[in-house]
């Protein structure tokens, strides 16, 4: 298992290098820089040029790239002029918001999607199956930003059960944090319920026709126990794959959801940086996103080994 982790981490190095090079390439290709943002929307070209010189943005790109890699070797991701903050610090401050949002979202999705998938498999081709699959298709088809706005309108404005947006750190007020996170995490979750439910159903159906399940039934085990104890356990590997992918999708979905609910997470940081051409933040954000994806993939691989002992020998 350790060997697998080591190999995957080593393989991540060229991936991260390519990501960082691509992000640098974008700084050359995409027009605009932070000087125009600092100067403001009605600044003249001369005013922007003055700020560009002041900030050293007129240095050759290669010089800036070498300086950035030099800093990176020392753990320094650079400094954002717009945030007046080190990029590393800015990301670390926001990471808990995004990870907890994506984590809660995928947890909600698993809690709903897995039982729904199992019920659909247990009642295959009957109305619970058709209703569950129909509902999951609807959930899959709804854009998360639209769902977010709908939740704001219904739960926030009409029912006034939860705040329409904003964020309270869990360290300050756990209840306030939960109230702020339920709606955005719910919006993220609903788009993931469908894939998880459908994958659980198809995996469960495949497992349900296996000999060992027939044996379990022949032994007289109750059907719910057969499904929860045997079918679910044996269906976990493909479900874990979809949950891993879903977590990645939730992270990217968090970019939009954080905008809708005004959550100060990494997604909002990166979107703001893209719109304002805050290149150090974009580069740091891309590098971090690549790291998270590598970590999630590694975690899923390790979970395979935990879920399916047959894979341990082959790893």
């Amino acid at each position: 298992m350790l060997r697998l982790a080591g190999v995957r981490l080593l393989a991540a190095v060229p991936v991260l290098l390519i990501v960082s090079l691509l992000s640098f390439g974008l700084t050359w290709l995409v027009p605009g820089d932070v000087a125009a943002e600092l100067a403001g929307p009605t600044a003249s070209a001369a005013e922007i040029e003055q700020i560009r010189t002041e900030l050293g943005l007129d240095r050759p790109p290669l010089q800036r790239m070498l300086a950035w890699y030099g800093g990176l070797l020392h753990g320094d991701l650079g400094r954002s002029v717009l945030l007046n903050q080190d990029v590393g610090q800015a990301i670390v401050e926001r990471l808990p918001v995004t990870l907890s949002l994506a984590g809660l979202g995928i947890a909600f999705a698993c809690l709903i999607g897995t039982p729904v998938g199992l019920v659909a498999a247990a009642k295959v081709r009957r109305w619970p199956d058709q209703a569950a699959m129909g509902a999951s298709l609807v959930g899959l088809s709804i854009p998360d930003f639209w769902l977010g706005l709908l939740l704001v309108w219904v739960i926030g404005v009409k029912l006034q059960w939860l705040p329409t947006g904003g964020f309270v750190p869990i360290s300050l007020d756990p209840l306030g944090w939960a109230r702020c996170m339920i709606m955005p995490a719910g919006a993220l979750a609903l788009t993931q319920v469908g894939p998880i439910a459908r994958m659980t159903r198809s995996a469960a159906l495949e497992v349900a026709s296996s000999d060992f399940i027939r044996t379990a039934r022949a032994k007289g085990l109750a059907e719910p126990r057969v499904f929860v104890r045997h079918v679910l356990a044996a269906s976990l590997v493909p479900v874990l794959t979809i949950v891993g992918i879903g977590f990645g999708v939730s992270l990217s979905g968090a970019l939009v959801i954080e905008q809708v609910f005004s959550l100060p997470g990494v997604g909002r940081l990166v979107i703001g940086a893209v719109l304002r051409r805050d290149w150090p933040v974009i580069q740091g954000g891309l590098l971090l996103t690549a790291c998270v994806f590598v970590a999630v993939n590694l975690l899923v691989d390790l979970l395979y080994l935990w879920a399916d002992p047959r894979l341990r020998g082959s790893s």
Binding site: P31, G40, P41, T42, S44, I51, L149, F167
Partner: protein, 536 residues
């Protein structure tokens, strides 16, 4: 003769122009109207009630809180609660003293002697002196966004602690207009903060609120400065100046990028003041007793700039064809969601530099037959016209889209490139590769003529190719001591803009500010002012 500009004093030689016959159309019904120049707002004479944390929502977060450096609205909304300037603008956008008692200008126009108010405290407890003012102005000359306006200043002298003397190398009749502009404000900070680099000074000012914290992507928090020294030369708030009183214990400026979420927050009471409410949302909420809407008209010029240096638009006949092909009112109606007025002048009516509208009708009427003839005269053979628009500002994209359709209707082969704002800005700064560029001018026309004319002048002019007549207008505006001569320069500029079709002035846009109904005595202005209003 010494010209004096003191609190409450009128400008010498003030030029008054009779009210023009502006065509007004379908401005949102049922909303409270406030037009610029704003009348002196009837202020509540009874004292307000102290207390509470007022939550103000704005779309963008500030690119910086270093007030001198940026002209962004998102910065100004906040920094003008923290900082004050020597001079600023009153309710009708005229320059008025703020930290100065007044200024004496020598007859030759080369010496400006500012008397500085005494007893004014910074948020750190230090008393304001002329040394702070001098250091702040010198910092602005070094780093400020509009630093060019201080180029004529050869020396700053402080003969005593309450006097600043600016010695000019050449006359600059627009100096007070310039340093009173809130665009990238000439704020005064403690001398010891002025040596720090861009973005680094501690946020210490003399304003009614002091800075507490900035959480990027979330909010800025300010608290009432109980040591604030109100300006007793005034009896009430007046634009950015006046006698200011902060009633709220604190003010929190939240950054909420999503328009629907901002509106929802206002509806639920999580937000008390909204810098801008979408027009359709304002129409939907006009009967909501918990929400008050305030229309600011005008808020900005909507314009369509042309690149006179490159391609099709380097040809005067072609530019005139564009002028004739456009139905300006259709563009305004869509781009503004109905909150607009048709106004062809390049200054707002009722302001000191208003040049009138004589002779403009011929240029602003859509005439497709004339446009086709002009295209023939230009030798047009179906080449591509490139419009660069951005999707960051709805009026820009709408203007680009509708103008494209209207130009296609007369046979122009249009390519519409929609990008984000930084890309659009970077593209239009290049001498080639674009023909038309929609742009809103918000603060510039509010300030007066200097930055409007300046936008079309100088080495990096927006139309790329300098126009000798406009250069002369800018020179006259910068050097003529008599107001009527400067107004004449603005009139010449306006005539030239239309005659040479350098840009199209589409119309004036409005915006809607909104508050919860428990915010008392709020008055709309260029920023949501959190002084002289309070919770019921």
């Amino acid at each position: 003769m010494t010209a004096c500009l003191h609190a409450g004093a009128k400008h010498k030689g003030e030029h008054r122009v009779s009210a023009p016959s502006i065509r007004r159309r379908s401005v949102t019904a049922g909303l409270l109207a406030a037009a610029l120049p704003l009348p002196a707002i009837a202020q509540g004479t009874s004292p307000g009630k102290r207390g509470g944390d007022v939550i103000v929502a704005q779309q963008a977060q500030p690119p910086t809180l270093d007030a001198q450096v940026s002209n962004a609205q998102a910065s100004r909304n906040i920094t003008l609660h923290i900082y004050e300037s020597l001079y600023t603008r009153d309710e009708a956008a005229n320059p008025k003293p703020e930290l100065a008692e007044g200024v004496d200008i020598a007859p030759d126009g080369l010496t400006y002697r500012f008397a500085i108010r005494t007893g004014v405290k910074f948020h750190n407890g230090k008393t304001l002196t002329s040394a702070d003012v001098k250091a702040s102005m010198q910092r602005y000359a070094r780093l400020g966004d509009s630093r060019d306006v201080l180029k004529p200043v050869a020396a700053y002298e402080t003969p005593d602690s309450k006097t600043l003397v600016m010695k000019l190398a050449s006359v600059a009749p627009g100096l007070i207009d310039a340093i009173s502009s809130p665009r990238a404000p000439f704020v005064i900070m403690p001398e010891e903060e002025c040596g720090k680099p861009l973005g680094q000074p501690a946020l210490i000012g003399t304003g009614p609120y002091s800075f507490v914290e900035y959480k990027p992507d979330s909010h800025v928090k300010l608290v009432r400065f109980d040591g604030y020294t109100p300006n007793t030369a005034f009896s009430q708030r007046d634009g950015f100046t006046g006698r200011k009183t902060a009633y709220f214990d604190s003010a929190t400026f939240r950054f909420m990028p999503e328009g629907g979420a901002r509106t929802a927050g206002l509806q639920t009471g999580e937000i008390h003041v909204l810098e801008s409410l979408d027009v359709p949302a304002a129409k939907r909420l006009k009967d909501d007793p918990h929400i008050h809407s305030f229309t600011m008209m005008p808020w900005a010029f909507l314009t369509l700039e042309m690149n006179t240096n490159w391609g099709l638009t380097s040809n005067l006949d072609f530019r005139r064809a564009v002028q004739s092909a456009l139905d300006l009112e259709e563009i305004m109606a869509i781009a503004s969601d109905g909150l607009y007025r048709m106004d062809p002048a390049w200054q707002y009516p009722g302001t000191r530099y208003y040049p009138g509208m004589a002779g403009l009708d011929a240029y602003t009427r859509q005439d497709q037959a004339k446009a086709k003839k002009l295209l023939q005269a230009a030798g047009y053979k179906g080449e591509e016209l490139i419009i660069v628009a951005d999707n960051s500002f709805k009026p820009h994209m709408d203007t680009g889209t509708i103008a494209s359709q209207q130009l296609r209707a007369v046979g122009v082969n249009v390519k519409l490139n929609v990008t984000d704002w930084p890309t659009s800005m970077a593209t239009r700064s290049k001498p080639e590769g674009w023909n038309l560029w929609p742009d809103m001018m918000g603060m510039e026309p509010y300030e007066g003529p200097y930055n409007v004319l300046g936008f079309f002048g100088g080495k990096q002019t927006v139309q790329i190719k300098q126009d000798p007549v406009i250069e002369q207008c800018n020179a006259d505006l910068a050097s003529k001591l008599k107001l009527e001569d400067r107004v004449a320069a603005v009139a010449t500029f306006q005539a030239r803009m239309y005659d040479q079709a350098i840009a199209v002035k589409v119309g004036d846009l409005g915006i809607i500010q909104a508050t919860r109904s428990n915010v008392v005595n709020y008055a709309p202005y260029r920023i949501p002012r959190m002084w002289d209003c309070w919770f019921a």
